[in-house]
Amino acid sequence: MNTTMVKLNNQQNQTAANAESQRKEAVYHTKDLNLWYGTNHALKNINLEINEKEVTAIIGPSGCGKSTYIKTLNRMIELVPDVKTSGEIKYRGRNILQKGYGVEELRTKVGMVFQKPNPFPKSIFENVAYGPKIHGIKDKKILNQIVEKSLKGAAIWDEVKDRLNENAFGLSGGQQQRLCIARCLAIEPDVILMDEPTSALDPISTLKVEELVQELKKEYSIIIVTHNMQQAARISDKTAFFLNGEVIEYSETDQIFSNPADQRTEDYITGRFG
């Protein structure tokens, strides 16, 4: 297959999922996004439409640009020195890469959960109440309500309701991760980005987080980077396969895992490379 054909196929594959997406409200619309770390061209002409209230999985081998991509969605990528971008990422219709777009405002709408659970060295209660507090909520009664609602939303309330004042470090890894999700929910985001959220968890905790993701998508739009192909197959509605900074295929997850359009996707998901 020559390069032009590969490009055409990529465009067709991306267009297929994008056309499907047009029937629903898009939360993100990425158009011709390019990103460089110095001279390293890490993201190449990314065009993706991500739907609200769906789970979108991003898969691909190490170094393919998947984590880089989701870190552009809340502009965390700007913390890396010498990063340049071109193109646009529209969040709810506004280009977040445009000068003057407030990053603080963006991050109240777009929460993030990381690979390793990273609770603050504070009580369980304070971990969840921290966000609302810095946004100015001081009323103890309201904070109590937010904490309870968030912990319930993260399916951990029953496990911690009797020890809210204990240090969060006393929780298991799986509980800490769900606490971090509760902390994310406390600021009532619109989108939750998850960067390999279960890679440090045991299988049962992993399944609990996966079930939680299924519940959360009723209220939130979720974008998850995962190395676990079965996880992407189990929990996501759409899947984007990244390779060498490009989106090779973006389609319904059922399609990707049963009959992918591109041979490279097939080779990756069947474990023939990567």
Binding site: M229, F257, S258, N259, P260, I269, T270, G271
Partner: protein, 219 residues
């Protein structure tokens, strides 16, 4: 070491087992027609006894396929390879059962001379056997052209079936004393016609394997 080398070897083993079952069914079908033609009761009994081997192979294929799904968690083409192997094994196992049915018909006819030469039945068998052989090749090579050709041959078997049944019905009116034999020969025609249908299913499974979509090759 290539990635998933062991899994690839296991998929090859699965394919090998399936081809073994296919060759067993080819052989059983040929022997059953041989037994019918020559009133060979001993051979017919042997075919019936040997069918256990097909059953064992069929179970082995199913068990191995389920184990592969559990251990390797296959997706896409890998998953289709395994699912298709299970489906094809079911079709081939049925074909082997038809050979047993023909053997039983041979026993029921016994030494009674055939009311007419069984040329049409032999022709149906020859085409069905050719279809089975070529479908196994098409499966092994994942060759869609070959698979399509096999499915097209099913029409010839259907035509011969219709013709032979009309002939046998005619004879049944002329020689009602041979009704048992005529019934058994009609059944045999039906078994061969059904066997050819199962081979057509194999072609459809090959299309699903390669294309990832269901195709109806009967129409």
């Amino acid at each position: 070491m290539a990635v998933r080398e062991k899994f690839d070897e296991e998929l090859m083993d699965l394919r090998g087992k399936l081809l073994d079952l296919g060759h067993f069914a080819e052989d059983a079908l040929s022997r059953s027609i041989d037994a019918l033609e020559n009133h060979n009761i001993e051979l017919a009994l042997e075919i019936m006894e040997d069918d256990t081997k097909a059953d064992i192979l069929y179970e082995e294929i199913n068990d191995f396929a389920i184990l592969l799904i559990a251990k390797q968690q296959p997706v896409a083409i890998d998953l289709r390879r395994i699912i298709v192997a299970i489906k094809i094994a079911t079709d081939i196992e049925r074909i082997a059962d038809f050979a047993v049915n023909i053997a039983k018909a041979t026993i029921r006819i016994g030494s009674e001379e055939h009311v007419k030469p069984i040329e049409h039945i032999k022709q149906m068998h020859a085409i069905t056997l050719k279809m089975l052989k070529q479908s196994l090749e098409a499966f092994n090579e994942e060759d869609l052209k070959k698979a399509k050709k096999v499915a097209d041959m099913d029409d010839e078997v259907d035509d011969l079936y219709g013709q032979t049944i009309i002939d046998l019905m005619k004879i049944s009116r002329e020689k009602p004393q041979h009704l048992t034999q005529i019934t058994q020969l009609s059944f045999t025609c039906r078994y061969l016609e059904r066997a050819a249908d199962h081979v057509t299913n194999i072609s459809e499974h090959i299309f699903y394997l390669v294309k990832g979509k269901q195709f109806d090759l009967n129409n």
